[in-house]
């Protein structure tokens, strides 16, 4: 879902950069207040794992592929939507600057779509669904799916504003493909959460006890 430079006019791209920078500043404030030093190795491992898994495009029908984004996982594991912003910003910086994956002028939009929306929908979706159905892994799956799907919907709206997609076709096509890619996001989020929770139940943050 990495938007390339050509898809958004420079002026609009700048607006998304401003929004992204506000959330990056909030994420840094979250880190200073709530990300204890014991979390540092976990942040490094999550960022590396998310970078690697993003390179693994999994085929879906219709000659299309998709990969995990990972913001929901980071937000759930580290106990704050801002953790999704924090980790995804770093991942998108490396992808954009070293690998040309995702544009430079539009990196703000990619940070907003994947880091901010992914982190917030993932985190609050997980907390809400877990509160209703009680099952951690089902909640992680649903939150992962929703985080990816809503990121894609926002992306379609941005590209409609940009003039790159007509709105209705953009929503239909982006929504359809990412409804399926969301299953990848949800599945890997649930499995990774299970593995982390099994290995180190103590380092998982609990949604109730967390503030940004």
């Amino acid at each position: 879902m990495h938007i390339p430079d050509a898809f958004i006019p420079m002026g609009q791209a700048l607006v998304y950069w401003v929004i992204a920078l506000i959330f990056i500043a909030l994420a840094l404030r979250w880190a200073r207040r709530s990300m204890g030093e014991e979390k540092i190795p976990l942040v490094a491992v999550l960022a590396a794992g998310i970078f690697a898994i993003q390179a693994l495009n999994i085929p879906i029908p219709w000659g299309t592929s998709g990969h995990m984004v990972g913001a929901a996982l980071a937000a759930i594991v580290l106990g704050s939507p801002f953790a999704g912003v924090f980790v995804l910003t770093l991942v998108l910086l490396v992808q954009g600057i070293i690998f040309g994956d995702g544009g430079i002028t539009v990196m703000g939009a990619n940070i907003v779509n994947m880091g901010v929306v992914g982190g917030f929908v993932g985190y609050y979706g997980y907390a809400a669904v877990k509160g209703v159905i009680g099952n951690t892994y089902a909640a992680a799956f649903i939150a992962g799916w929703a985080s990816l799907f809503i990121s894609a919907i926002l992306c379609a709206v941005e590209l409609a504003i940009a003039g790159t997609f007509p709105l209705s076709l953009g929503l239909t096509f982006m929504g359809t493909y990412h409804a399926v890619i969301g299953l990848i996001e949800g599945g890997i989020t649930a499995v990774a959460l299970y593995l982390i929770a099994s290995a180190r139940p103590d380092i998982l943050e609990h949604p109730q006890a967390v503030s940004a």
Partner: protein, 116 residues
């Protein structure tokens, strides 16, 4: 599990994925690219045949529409190392993973809440 062991296992898993990705990853357009090509009639919405010529024209059209012709030559474009085939792809993703560990560790180190 001790933190050291947890971190080592985590890094090993990331590196295994990094090495395997070039062999396993699908080369099909991702969801956004596929939607873009379908909307611009370079590919059927529910089909898989990509018309390369129409796809290229659609990309030119996007630049004309947005006026954003910013271009940037990345060091390892699209997770490749120019001149090296599969080996280059493996190396690129492994290097990226290592850079990611170092960068995330460093940034987390300087931004984390001090313990005392």
């Amino acid at each position: 599990m001790e933190t050291e062991q947890f971190v080592i296992i985590g890094i090993v898993i990331a590196l295994v994925i990094a090495v395997a990705a070039p062999f396993l990853a699908s080369g099909n357009p991702d969801g956004l690219e596929s939607a873009f090509f379908s909307i611009h009639e370079a590919k059927p919405f529910m089909g898989s045949e990509l018309d390369e010529e129409a796809a290229g024209a659609a990309e030119e059209e996007a630049i004309a529409t947005t006026g954003n012709d910013f271009s940037y030559e990345a060091l390892m474009p699209d997770y490749t190392i120019p001149g090296l085939d599969k080996v280059g792809e493996v190396l690129a993703i492994v290097l990226g993973t290592v850079v990611m560990i170092a960068l995330a560790y460093g940034i987390a180190r300087v931004t984390a809440r001090p313990d005392n």
